[in-house]
């Protein structure tokens, strides 16, 4: 069994039927599995809404654990367009050379730190610290704040025996409330303050709206980035030749990160609530029911990708939907891509080989389909160059 093999969990159903039901807390979801259906439905924001009750478009549904609407994520156009325009520039800051330099320093320090150790558990000792520290740049707050988030552990919303844990989720919500209050009392140049000062429809953003943007920023980029980094490490462990190739050829890094994110698809799917009845690959999507856009399945669709189950580091045409598609495409993608690039660059410069000592896979349960999304544990030893 190879640790870096992530099989295509949806293949048979995608080809035979194209859709698949999943019963989620008595609010069933029909997963759309084909690339074309996924893109078309994502594009159709009129017929397939994101502005349902907060938490409803997430699968598993979060309606029982949160009331705050995530912004701009759980809003439809035209309101979505204005919210998105408010935050767009801020979320493009990762392209600034200064941001990239600081990110490089963070990643270098983290990799140096674990190279000093013998074996490490990659998720808790490398992926989580990198993700947390990188997030301080996106929020523009002191690096030391990352310690708090690291102490929360890998799952902010999940506990051992439950996919959704209200007590755990409230740790994040309470934390964000407190940080917003601090920023109101002493404004600075953090994302909190910038949002509190922003104007939506000619008036200041409310605390609740600011909270909505921040929950999205924290939640959307946590497990996804952690899985991406950990899975990439597993791949490089089993493909040492790729480490050399990537180190020798910086241009390859650009296509490689897109390929890794396609193959790993850290976010399996995202829901929508049907506004106008429509038939999709034989499924009649009735008003007020849910469908989900299965990015992970679309990204393995053979009608679009040649050799979809192979990682082709220099894949030239790669129209993957790992960051979603259309108006709601991932707001944090610029940050994620910059981190992915910097991570690959620094990692392949400093590490020669990786030994996998122990691995426990994280398998998601989507009813008829079980999908490996990452690891619950990955113990490795990094060997320095």
């Amino acid at each position: 069994m190879s640790a870096s093999n992530f099989s295509d969990a949806f293949k048979d159903t995608r080809e035979a039927k194209g859709t698949c039901p999943f019963n989620d807390q008595n609010d069933p979801v029909t997963m759309l599995l084909r690339f074309k259906d996924v893109r078309k439905t994502a594009h159709n924001t009129k017929g397939f809404s994101s502005a349902a009750k907060p938490g409803r478009i997430v699968v598993p549904s979060e309606v029982n654990i949160r009331d705050t609407r995530q912004i701009p994520f759980e809003v439809d156009p035209p309101e979505h367009t204005e919210y998105r325009a408010l935050v767009e520039d801020w979320f493009k800051r990762p392209l600034d050379p200064d941001y990239e330099n600081k990110l490089t320093q963070i990643v270098e320090a983290e990799i140096e730190r674990v190279l000093q150790k013998g074996s490490i558990e990659a998720i808790s000792e490398l992926s989580l610290p990198i993700q947390s520290k990188a997030l301080t740049l996106l929020l523009n707050i002191p690096l030391t704040e990352a310690q708090t988030w690291i102490s929360w552990g890998t799952h902010v919303f999940r506990s051992e025996d439950s996919d959704l844990d209200a007590d755990k989720a409230s740790i994040l919500y309470d934390y964000i409330d407190a940080e917003i209050d601090k920023a109101i009392a002493a404004p600075d140049d953090s994302l909190y303050s910038v949002l509190l000062n922003s104007e939506y429809q000619g008036r200041k953003m409310t605390k609740e709206e600011v909270k909505g943007v921040l929950i999205l920023t924290f939640a959307g980029g946590r497990d996804t980035v952690i899985n991406y980094l950990t899975n990439t490490i597993a791949y490089l462990a089993e493909h040492p030749e790729a480490i050399e190739k990537l180190n020798d050829n910086p241009a390859l890094v650009n296509t490689a990160i897109e390929e890794f994110v396609r193959y790993f698809s850290p976010l399996t799917h995202m829901g929508r609530v049907v506004k106008e009845e429509k038939e999709i690959s034989g499924h009649v999507a009735k008003e007020d029911t849910r469908v989900s856009l299965c990015w992970a399945s679309a990204n393995r669709d053979e009608s679009v990708f040649e050799n979809p189950n192979e990682i082709v580091l220099d894949r030239k045409m790669n129209p993957h939907v790992a960051f979603g598609f259309g108006a709601h495409k991932c707001l944090g993608a610029t940050h994620a891509r910059q981190l992915m690039k910097v991570f690959l660059r620094v990692f392949t410069e400093k590490v020669s080989t990786i030994d996998i000592i122990d691995a426990a896979e994280n398998i998601e349960d989507w009813g008829a389909h079980k999908r490996k999304v990452g690891f619950n544990e990955l113990t490795i030893k990094l060997n320095a160059k």
């Binding site: 893109r39 078309k40 594009h43 493009k92 650009n254 296509t255 990160i257 897109e258 679009v304 894949r315 030239k316 045409m317 790669n318 129209p319 993957h320 939907v321 598609f325 259309g326 495409k329 993608a333 610029t334 891509r337």
Partner: protein, 102 residues
């Protein structure tokens, strides 16, 4: 060497010269407004959408199906729309003008 003119949404004209790479890479390097090139040119983001001047459109190699499908979903699509990460720079396109679509 090819001369390339980008016209941004705001109407700014930017003239550049290059002999290799893609129209997207050149635009990103020179920070042409409206061309972000998020996906680095693998046809996954459509943040490199331009309208090619009609007299040049025909001279270009026709878009692949993947590119056309991508364009189908973007805003401001015209019959001269292209994703400029798919247009390589060479002598053949010397003098080309493209309007940034978004």
């Amino acid at each position: 060497m090819a001369k390339i003119t980008y016209i941004t949404k705001a109407g700014e004209e930017i003239q550049l010269e290059a002999s290799s790479g893609s129209l997207m890479e050149l635009a990103v390097k020179h920070k042409v407004a409206g061309i972000d090139g998020d996906c680095g040119g693998v046809c996954s983001c459509a943040t490199c959408h331009v309208h090619v001047a009609p007299e040049f459109y025909q001279k270009l190699e026709a878009p692949t199906e993947i590119e056309s499908d991508m364009l189908e979903f973007d805003d401001n699509v015209t019959e001269y729309s292209r994703l400029c990460c798919q247009i390589p720079i060479s002598e053949a396109i010397d003098g080309i003008t493209v309007n940034v679509a978004n």
